[in-house]
């Protein structure tokens, strides 16, 4: 189903931007309330639920034993995938994975993988024979805008609670998956000519291009993605990068707080 982008919405978002206002009353770089819950699903070895405004996302971690790649005999593997199923919004149709869902999964995957929070050598069981394959599946249940940040948060929170099911596979005792870091994503969309943080559904509908920034514990970049039609200047990027640093640090505290519970 093609979403009609009403010109009226676009005009209204432009008018609001002139007054530095947003359609849901937030400040330009103000995020929506976030609720994070971990270890909420039986059968998943790690799981998390994230609610951000009208967006609801689950992530679950599963393990499998596989044969390592011949050129990397002592390394396990990590895969992160996202599904945008028709449950999440009336705009999503059933069928094979859409380019949007593939992009979403890959951007989250890169942020986690490139942060180095999982040591692939630690996933080795018998070099050259058996390694762990870690799979993070993200399930979007309600798309109320900015599913990228919700998915990124759910994925890392689920991963950080994962327990390796070694007993079930007869390769020793269960143990907590070592995860060294909490990479966090922050997303911005151009609305009414300027970037806003954590766009809601209407802002995505009447907005332009988006930028996703994943930042690690040390403040380093681990993944970037520019999506949709539009261009931006280095100055604009510098401004949102600074905001992203602050937002990612805040979200990392939410993950730590949930883990402490």
């Amino acid at each position: 189903m093609v979403e009609l982008v009403p010109n009226l919405l676009r005009q209204e978002l432009g008018r609001l931007a002139e007054q530095d206002a947003r359609i849901d009353g937030r400040a330009r770089f103000e995020g929506r309330d976030i609720h994070l819950e971990t270890n909420c699903l039986y059968n998943a070895e790690g799981s998390a639920k994230v609610t951000m405004g009208k967006t609801v996302v689950y992530a679950g971690v599963k393990f499998e034993i596989r044969t390592p790649w011949p050129d990397r005999p002592s390394e396990g593997s990590l895969m992160c995938g996202a599904e945008l199923r028709p449950v999440a919004h009336r705009k999503y149709e059933p069928g094979p994975p859409s380019p949007e869902s593939i992009e979403l999964g890959r951007v989250v995957d890169r942020g986690i993988r490139e942060s180095g929070c999982i040591d692939m050598d630690s996933l080795c069981i018998i070099p050259g024979e058996k390694v762990w394959g870690v799979m993070i599946d993200i399930h979007v249940l309600s798309d109320g805008g900015n599913i990228f940040d919700a998915c990124g948060l759910a994925a890392i929170a689920a991963l950080r609670t994962a327990v390796v099911p070694a007993e079930r596979f007869d390769v020793g005792e269960d143990y907590t998956l070592p995860v060294n870091g909490t990479p966090i994503m922050a997303s911005f969309t151009r609305v009414g000519g300027r970037y806003v943080y954590d766009p809601c559904e209407e802002e995505e509908l009447g907005g332009d291009e988006r930028i996703h920034i994943t930042i690690g514990d040390e403040g380093h970049l681990h993944s970037l993605q520019k999506g949709l039609r539009g261009v931006f200047t280095p100055q604009e990027f510098a401004e949102i990068f600074e905001v992203a640093q602050e937002k990612c640090a805040e979200l990392r505290k939410i993950v730590a707080k949930e883990e402490a519970n």
Binding site: L41, Y42, N43, A44, S47, G53, K54, T55, V56, Y58, G60, V61, K62, E64, G81, E83, R85, P86, V87, A88, H89, R90, P94, P96, P97, M135, D137, H139, L141, S142, D143, G144, R168, E201
Partner: protein
Amino acid sequence: MGGYGDIQLLREDGLRLDGRKLDESRPVTIQAGILPAADGSAMVTHGLNVAVAAVYGPMEAHPRKIQRQDRAVIDVRYNMAPFSTSDRIRPGFNRRSREISKVTAEALESVVLVERYPRSKIRVEIEILAAEAGTRCAGITAASVALADAGIPMRDMIVGVASGKIEDTVVLDLDKAEDNYGQADLPAGILPNTGEIAFLQMDGDLSPEEFDLAMEYNFKAAKEIHEIMVEALQSRYQGGDK
């Protein structure tokens, strides 16, 4: 049904492995209106099962060939999340989920007043987030509450319940071990107000007498779960958060 092996499913004291009585259901919780993007939604936890349903519509039915001139069609998709089972499931439809989707749609078409919406479509999306035997029943219950939450007129709701047989004994609501090692499973979709049956499947081995007892248990469970369904809708619309 799985093996008929030596696995003991009933304890010396006559109770089941998890301590339940023969005619005792696992605990059920229901929340209505949990997915803001949907027109109606519900989450059902039944034991360790977690089923979520979203309803969209009534909307234009397309492609046009699925349209019915005299009524709405109900398009159900039952899907298990990759992390919902012990071994990860590869995303996408399989034969099992297609069959469950089909019979669930037919059950719901029996209670929704589909003749009020000719040429339209009502989408029902059932997502299983955690599976511990009984997901199709939890899905039907969730779908019914989600349809009611969407304000779609129905003759009655459908309650998904199941009984079965373990160690030659009829029991209500099989859990995972009982489903794997039991002798029969009888899931049913019951209309609690009219006492009619909109959904029925069975596999295994049941005598006529065992079938009667299993259905008696199913009707008892339907009555109990129906109360929880009504409470979920009441708490959403009477002094609930919205």
